[in-house]
Symmetry: C2
Subunit: 245 residues, 2 copies
């Protein structure tokens, strides 16, 4: 009953992490600002959260220079309707998330942390993760591992992992804000890096629920990824046209 | 010294596994026969091995009906130059590989096992795997895991795996034939399925070397994969044109 009640009235904050230098592609434009079918990747990402009814505010973590260079454009030209705060990122992803968490309005109870370069996130996926977190405290989306995964030791196979229990983790990851803040405070006491936010919560010994992710929800880190994202978008349009939408 | 000598004179067999029904795509044509930039996926795969100087013979495992329907076309029209044997596949991948192994000419010492739906395999990759296997007895190509991988238990996170030691396994996988035959004989004594051939060799307690794979060497199992393969092929052509090839 409590979970059902929560669902109806509690808004959440969206923390979009785009603080990395993102120049692995070797281009002068940071990848989050590259165009994907006519709109910047990051604009697509922000719009998905802006349109979701549960999202009350958006905190966007960007490299300091990009806030100066593009802050006004993002505020004025990207068609966002929810309160938006721009925060300067740190050296590592963890520093960026921590900075973003500090900028969320006091009193907000829930946060969705999402990679800025996952523009194909859908409203349905946001909903799934959020609903689960509101019951469990922490939830992440994931898809099954399709390939064979092995561990290696010095150029030799260590072991073949049992694929049926493995998943590939995505974002948005949803948390009770206080839980994630505690996890980050604790993380800064250890040197061990984490590749996602849930891992820090797991280190506290807290349970993290896994919901069904979306294979289209890819992270764009190379130019090939950008082309793949374009294919997915075109597929969606084809389906939408077929359905007469 | 021994390894270097082996390299210069020992040929190998290529065992191409395309025995699956491959109708997950929901099409009437099995995926291995779909066109990729003007040529069937499987033709591209076979050509890569046919052109490699170390490959002395090719054993192609196909569904029984496809041997009847397309065997002649493959033999006559696909431009292959090496001895080619067509073998009917079994219910599972393991049955298909076992049938293929039985069809390799006696006296052949080395085998490359490859998925028929990985048409972007390059000569350089075949060479890398084969060279390593000739020294070690068994070698597989793999690429780093880019995403966060977790294990799950009943809808909850079990643990976050340490990504830096994990790899995504590809084919071709190269083996001393007798080693792989022994591994398959043993495998049929246990119920445990394996997702790749090397896993069966690992169960014998034999070492398997890991060489650098190729991120373009994708397995085509969906129509989106087919489109991604097309992108990679177009990239290659662009590079070839730039290099004046």
């Amino acid at each position: 009953m409590e979970a059902v009640m929560n669902r109806t009235w509690q808004p959440c904050a969206a923390l979009i992490v785009a603080g990395g230098s993102g120049r692995r592609m070797g281009l002068s434009t940071r990848k989050q600002f590259l165009s994907l079918c006519g709109r910047p990747i990051l604009q697509r990402t922000l719009t998905a959260f802006d349109r979701h009814s549960a999202v009350a505010e958006i905190v966007l973590v960007l490299p300091k220079e990009e806030i100066a260079a593009r802050g006004e454009e993002i505020r004025q030209m990207w068609g966002l309707t929810k309160p938006l705060r721009l925060v300067a990122g740190g050296a590592e992803r963890q520093d960026s998330v921590r900075a973003g968490l500090a900028a969320i309005t006091a009193g907000q109870e829930w946060v969705l942390v999402h990679d800025g370069v996952r523009p194909l996130v859908t409203s349905a996926l946001i909903e799934r993760v959020l609903e689960s977190a509101r019951i469990t405290g922490a939830a992440i989306p994931a898809v099954p591992v399709r390939e064979t995964i092995k561990s290696t030791v010095d150029g030799w196979v260590g072991e073949t992992l049992r694929r049926e229990r493995l998943v590939v983790v995505q974002t948005p990851q949803a948390f009770r804000i206080e839980l994630l803040r505690t996890a980050y405070d604790r993380a800064f006491d250890t040197a061990e890096p984490a590749t996602d936010d849930a891992a820090l919560v797991e280190r506290l010994g807290e349970p993290v629920a896994v919901v069904c992710g979306d294979e289209r929800n890819i992270k764009i880190t190379t130019l090939i990824d950008l082309k793949i994202a374009r294919i997915w978008l075109q597929e969606e349009e084809t389906h939408a046209n077929r359905a007469g939408l």
